[in-house]
Amino acid sequence: MTLHRRTLLRGLFQGSAAVMGVPFLDCFLDSKGQALAATGQRLPTRFSTFFYGLGLTTQLWVPKKTGLDYDTTSQLQPLEPFKKKMNVFSGMRVMVDDNPNFQHWSGNAAIVTGIAPTKASQFDSKTIDQTIADVISRGSRFKTVAAAASGDPKHCYSSLGGANTLPAEPTPLALYTRLFGPGFQDPSKADWKPDPQVMLQQSVLSAVADERKDFMKNLGGTDKDRMDQYFTSVREAEVQIAAELQRPEVVAKVAIPASPGDMVVNYALPNVRQVTPLMAKLGALAMATDQTRVFNLAISEPGSNIYVPGDPLGYHITTHMEAIDQTLGYQPRVAKYNVYSMELLAATLKELDSIPEGDGTLLDHSLVMAYSDQSYAKIHAVDGIPIMLAGNANGRMKTGYHIAGGGAPVSRVGLTVQKIMGLGVDGWGKGSMETKSAYPELLA
């Protein structure tokens, strides 16, 4: 068996000569050239989210033309290399109905749940990445993995519902260790065999799961929900262990790079710029080797505290304090910060796109949803939050479109995403955001 195409990724990880083979053998293609895994199954479609705080500047990012071949605006310029591989959504509405518009929360929570949150910092349902993972993650080691590029594990908008969010890996080292540290089994190893210790761990987990009935006795409603989450987590650990006992489905020829080592991870833009692509790279490798099929990356929290060294206020406070330039008609410093977010998104997509897989790249077999918390951060507006869907989702999503929502509920994007990911859903969202309309022009 020979490798037809081979990519070497060098020098990314602190100068160590990291070498990685193509994580897929091209000999496994079906008659249409579609990628197949060793077992003859199609390569899994992966799902990623990219969260960036504080939106963009409407007059600088929304293209004038809609549909295909739309005009590239100044704030979308960094994404130009991926224009044909992505869709952008403008004018989508977040309808809060009778709930408050929680600043720097309602917008992003509504995008990932289809529901206007009833409480600040809480989700009223499971988030979309978890719903998708329920369906697509079977057999992969981690159901979902998250990373936070400015170093706070709380920067993760993935939840089973309520106040809990799945903690993100706050440094490249932590992310690396989780993915490729102890427990990682290189699927390309010739002498792959299940670790007998793993089987013993499985018995421990089922003993923990057996405590459920007794522990749930006499619990009130809220506490019952909390313990449901705990026992769901136990169940996921069991599934993870079971996955470690199976030879991974995707036969990847991978030499895992050396550990990235300690680095400063905080809100300073130069650091975020260093860390984001590194985390994206690790996430991409994890998806290529089927360690996970769902990867969530956040460059900051909503109300981003990212700052350019020398700017005494930082991004968030600048959105509120910077005056609108009378000539330009917008906030010039804020507009610069906006563009940094798009550059970081482009850097992330680049990492996914640089891993060849079967008939294309990892990005082609992924769906990446990029979203934010506000549209016009200065006044905490949530209508028209810019959303991007990138990747071809294994041929399931048509790309290259600018969809002008015209006030359509933001949940239509989430519904479209779920249909593309192969979930059998007819509708999504609650209240005014309940919808049964996906965007049919994007469904291949």
């Binding site: 013993l200 761990q201 007794d214 700052y307």
Partner: protein, 543 residues
């Protein structure tokens, strides 16, 4: 009603002789709190020894009603969090049963090191089960672990491997990771059964799992009598371990975890390096615990004292010579230093500022909430703040710009509430250094709150010192911290007794703790709404 209480207590006492009181109590669950990282670490260190290392990720907590302790009653364990707990549990169990530790930590010797020994395993699991679950294991629970160990021993051919997996199970069990508080009816309310009392006392005062003596006091029913309670509370308070308990409380109340995501702009403030945040946090904790416990001082003086502890990093910011051999030295600021209590320490000043600029609003909002229990509502969504930031115009100082902005009626209601505190602290920059001018203008440090006018940090300290809302707020937060309730929802009557003890003692911390722990309100909770009666839809009355 009194008769009912006596009956309930009598029932517990009677039960405790034959079967474990916990099993017999068949109480209602009135509280369910996830262990905090520190509680977990302290528990493992106390149960197995300090040389057992605990390494791994703990789920982040969030602040609710001014305390992260409150979120432990709301949060669960996520898949990522459990994965980490599971790995940590196994790593702990490996250490406890390894060659190095087994002689000390496994009290019995198996008949054969290669074969199951149910009697020895049973001894091991009942001993550690009691300490980890903070109550005895029921027969069924014990049997399940012994059976698990037996299976594992057979699979591995090693007795200690069996113990390891059985112990790993205990350490990732919900019964260890969550403190389940059970209540039994006592008249119109519910009161905690003895083991739940033991936990509440121990976590409040020592920030750790109850020790053997406290668990024994629960088992014998001692914790149900006033005299027995008093004895145990006095013992806990007299211990030097009260220090770590109060460090945990003050760290939470003073929001010192805010430092976890504060970054300062190195370009504007090159002095601020990696060591600053932990040093500033430590300075404030040392000052506070020293006043509260070592000096047995008046807690109001926390707002005015010029006594502190500094290390090399803090000395750099305070611009003081550091001429001391050890890492920390006690230090007293001179009278004209402008410093006054913790409100003028680097921690408070820098945590509530922007990366490169001070923020009277941030400082004001935080201090009002922390010390006076007066949270400020979030500003309306559509506010134009740009006037505050324009330094090219006539408004040179933050004060001038802030006042200009606060003349708008919608803004004024909140800003007149929170800004004065912050304005009086404008003599300190974003990293807590003293300054006298801003953009070339002398800084006006006067402030008026609630009709009282004062000037600078010292004036603010004295204002807070004299405001009875400050010690009342501390009592409220301690009650919320101990019970897991949201401080904003706590009825004043719940901590009335404790507060009175605090005032009568001249605001001594030990008196507040003792008054709180001994007051019936500390263990009483409203009757929980039965989950079954309401199809599981109704929230616990407690939460």
């Amino acid at each position: 009603m009194r008769k009912k209480v006596i009956l309930a207590v009598a029932a517990l006492l009677a039960a405790s002789t034959a079967i474990p009181a916990w099993a017999a109590a068949s109480g209602q669950v009135v509280g369910l709190r996830r262990l905090s990282e520190q509680e977990y670490r302290n528990s493992i260190a106390d149960i197995f020894g300090k040389d057992i290392t605990v390494q791994g990720m703990f789920e982040p907590q969030v602040r609710m009603g001014g305390l992260v302790a409150t979120s432990t009653a709301v949060l669960s364990v996520t898949p990522t969090g459990f994965e980490s707990f599971s790995k940590m549990a196994d790593a702990i169990a490996i250490q406890v049963t390894d060659q190095k530790h087994r002689a000390k930590l496994v009290s019995c010797t198996p008949k054969s090191p290669k074969e199951p020994d149910d009697a020895c395993a049973s001894e091991f699991f009942s001993r550690y089960g009691l300490l980890l679950f903070r109550r005895p294991l029921t027969d069924t629970e014990l049997k399940a672990r012994v059976t698990l160990a037996r299976t594992m021993t057979k699979a591995s051919g090693d007795f200690y491997t069996g113990l390891r997996y059985g112990l790993a199970e205990l350490v990732q069990s919900p019964n260890f990771l969550f403190r389940k508080e059970l209540g039994v009816p006592a008249g119109k309310v519910f009161t905690l059964e003895p083991y739940s009392r033991a936990s509440r006392l121990s976590f409040l005062m020592w920030d750790t799992t109850p020790d053997k003596e406290l668990l024994d006091a629960a088992q014998t029913g001692e914790l149900n009598s006033a005299a027995g309670l008093e004895k145990q509370i006095s013992r806990l308070i007299a211990s030097p371990r009260l220090d770590s308990g109060m460090r945990a409380f003050f760290s939470d109340m003073l929001e010192l975890d805010t430092f976890d995501n504060v970054s300062k702009d190195a370009l504007i403030y090159p002095k601020w390096g990696g060591a600053m945040a932990p040093s500033a946090r430590e300075e404030t904790l040392r000052t506070t615990v020293n006043l509260a416990l070592h000096d047995n001082g008046d807690m109001r003086d926390l707002m005015t004292t010029r006594k502190t502890f500094i290390n090399r990093s803090m000395a750099a910011i305070y611009d003081v010579d550091f001429t001391f051999d050890s890492e920390w030295m006690p230090y007293e600021f001179p009278k004209d230093s402008g410093r006054s209590g913790v409100v003028t320490q680097v921690s408070m000043l820098s945590m509530f500022s922007h990366p490169g600029q001070s923020s009277p609003t941030k400082r004001g909002v935080a201090l009002m909430d922390i010390f006076l229990c007066e949270p400020t509502p979030t500003p309306p969504a559509n506010v134009d703040f740009s006037a505050i930031n324009d330094t090219s115009g006539p408004l040179k100082t933050v004060r001038q710009r802030l006042l200009a902005h606060a003349t708008t009626p919608t803004c004024a209601s909140c800003h007149t509430h929170s800004d004065p505190i912050g304005l009086s602290l404008e003599g300190f920059d974003t990293i807590g250094q003293r300054r006298l001018t801003e953009n070339g203008q002398p800084i006006d440090l006067t402030a008026t709150i609630k009709g009282k006018t004062f000037k600078d940090g010292a004036g603010l300290g004295q204002f807070l010192h004299d405001d009875p809302k400050y010690p009342a707020c501390m009592a409220r937060k301690l009650y919320a911290y101990g019970t897991g309730l949201n401080s904003e929802d706590v009825e004043t009557s719940s901590f009335k007794t404790a507060y009175k003890t605090f005032v009568d003692s001249g605001y001594r911390m030990r008196a507040l703790i003792k008054g709180l722990a001994e007051s019936p309100e500390f263990f009483n909770t409203p009757a929980p709404v039965s989950a079954d009666a309401s199809n599981g839809q109704t929230k616990l009355a407690l939460h």
